[in-house]
């Protein structure tokens, strides 16, 4: 379980707060999505939670343990971070990339051991990309890369997984596949999953809980069908939408 309490953040030498006291709770085994327009503070919030940036007020706890003063190594055992898919400078094999998830378990003057290889194998199988293991990471598609990064996060064995816009560079089919996979992994491995998304409909379809933020404030928190309303979208994104109920699913679409 991840608890974020009254987190405030501002950039160095600036007076304006980017995060103005954000609080929320993300439960184990469930998918929590942070939704918000560009520049709302989503990415900043992510960097604060994962410890890359220091918030100046507030607290972040994992299973009751405060993460404020933890080393990188200890923090990596609590949080795994799935970045947006990217191109590394060298064409490492898929397996080598997944193995990197074990970095926090490998001593500074040593290399991964038997257990690290086993955990990486297991992560590859969990995500279902065992067939890609020897292919260079630079030669696979964007959707496959995202799966590799998810496998790496699984190998890291942290109770909380953070995903930064996991669908942003993917086509429609891959967006759906990735989100299905993430949901399944959260449930079967009992991981607390927190991710950011751009699309309110995808957020609504896949998340157990949605947190809407705008200009550094939390606007709403709860089940998607309850909080994502025509009025909320108008307030946050400043566009007119209609909400429709199709087969029990809530879909919003723009008024053209």
């Amino acid at each position: 379980m991840l608890e974020v309490k009254e987190v405030y953040f501002k950039h160095k030498r600036q007076t304006v707060d980017v995060l103005k006291g954000i609080s929320f709770v993300a439960e184990k085994g469930l998918l929590t999505t942070i939704l918000g327009p560009n520049g709302s503070g989503k990415s900043t919030l992510f960097k604060c939670i994962s410890g890359l940036w220091r918030y100046y007020k507030g607290e972040v706890k994992v299973d009751g343990v405060s993460i404020d003063k933890l080393s990188f190594k200890k923090r990596a055992r609590l949080f795994s971070v799935v970045p947006q898919e990217h191109e590394p400078p060298f064409p490492y094999s898929v397996f080598d990339v997944v193995l990197m998830g074990r970095a926090s378990y490998v001593g500074i003057f040593s290399s991964p051991g038997k257990r690290d290889y086993e955990k990486s194998e297991e992560a590859l199988n969990t995500v279902g990309i065992d067939h890609l293991r020897n292919i260079p990471y630079t030669k696979i598609s964007g959707g496959e890369r995202q799966l590799v990064l998810i496998a790496r996060a699984i190998a890291q064995e942290a109770p909380v997984m953070l995903l930064d816009e996991p669908t942003s560079h993917l086509d429609f089919k891959n967006q759906i596949n990735i989100l299905k996979k993430i949901k399944e992994i959260a449930k079967t491995r009992e991981i607390t999953v927190v991710m950011t998304l751009h699309d309110p409909n995808l957020a609504g379809l896949f998340s157990d809980k949605v947190i809407v933020i705008n200009s550094g404030n939390k606007i709403a928190e709860g089940k998607a069908e309850e909080i994502i309303t025509e009025d909320l979208i108008k307030r946050v994104y400043d566009i007119d939408v209609k909400k429709a109920d199709i087969d029990g699913k809530n879909i919003i679409y723009p008024v053209l």
Partner: protein
Amino acid sequence: MKGIKVLIILISPLIVGWISLFLGAYGITPWMVLKILLNETLHIFDLGDIPEKVIVIDIRLPRVILAGIVGACLSGAGVTLQGIFRNPLVDPFILGISAGAAFGCAITIGFLSSVPIQFMAFIFGITAVVIAYTVARAQGEVSRLPLILSGVIVSAFFTALVSIVKFLVDPHKLQSIVYWLMGSFSLADWKAVKISLLGVIFGLLPIFLMRWRLNVISMGEEETKALGVNVSRDRLLFIGFSTLAVAIATSLCGIIGWVGLMVPHLVRMLTGPDHKTLVPLSFAAGASFMILADTLSRTLTSFDIPVGIITALTGAPFFIYLMKRGGKEAWGK
């Protein structure tokens, strides 16, 4: 297939070294070389005092071993720097470490003969790379082209300082500075070999032990932190160890460029980018490459051509080839 390639690269320094021992102005048969080596190590049969023995044991063998160790140091530093800076186009020479170390050596030869030359080489080598890195580091990550440019600038600066030293020292010392700067193993002896072992123990050995981390660090700063690695500390350690290896190499045989750029690339093409194998294989291939280059430099003509000239003649075209091949991708961002 990969296993065979790995094995060949690992034992290549022994084979190239053995070939190098029987080539030279004084012809010695390959069999005689083996006999002399066995005689020295196992004392199986007594050869008596033959001239071949002196040539092999006291002249060629230390030179071959020194060339091997220096090659391993330069190539090991190259692969390490390429990894931590996520930049396949850098090496100790391009980042200014060699020029910095050379300046440290030059002022020691010129003015401070009481100070250990390796110490000064290390101090100025690390100063050079830290300046190059700081200048290139605008915000967060260092992108590729600025790092190379700042390396060129730092190199030029320290080369100018070396010129000032050359201008000021007495002509007798000037000659030795100039010859040594061109990069050569012609003065190799067993004492130099012993000093070079410091580079192996305090430079290459820790790099070897930490090598898997290069995979992680090469993924970028934020990602490395999120994976649980203290990237600032580890990067500093890697810079320190590789600068130490380069400083010791430079203090023994002058500036030899491009080895650290070429060798890791060739190994990567043959056996892949995983630093677990890439690092030890770069040591071995660097050793073979340097022994080969030095053998050429002393056998091609009746003179002993400085080996730095040979590596530069192969290295510069290789750099251009990499740029052409990689195109926009190689320059990144």
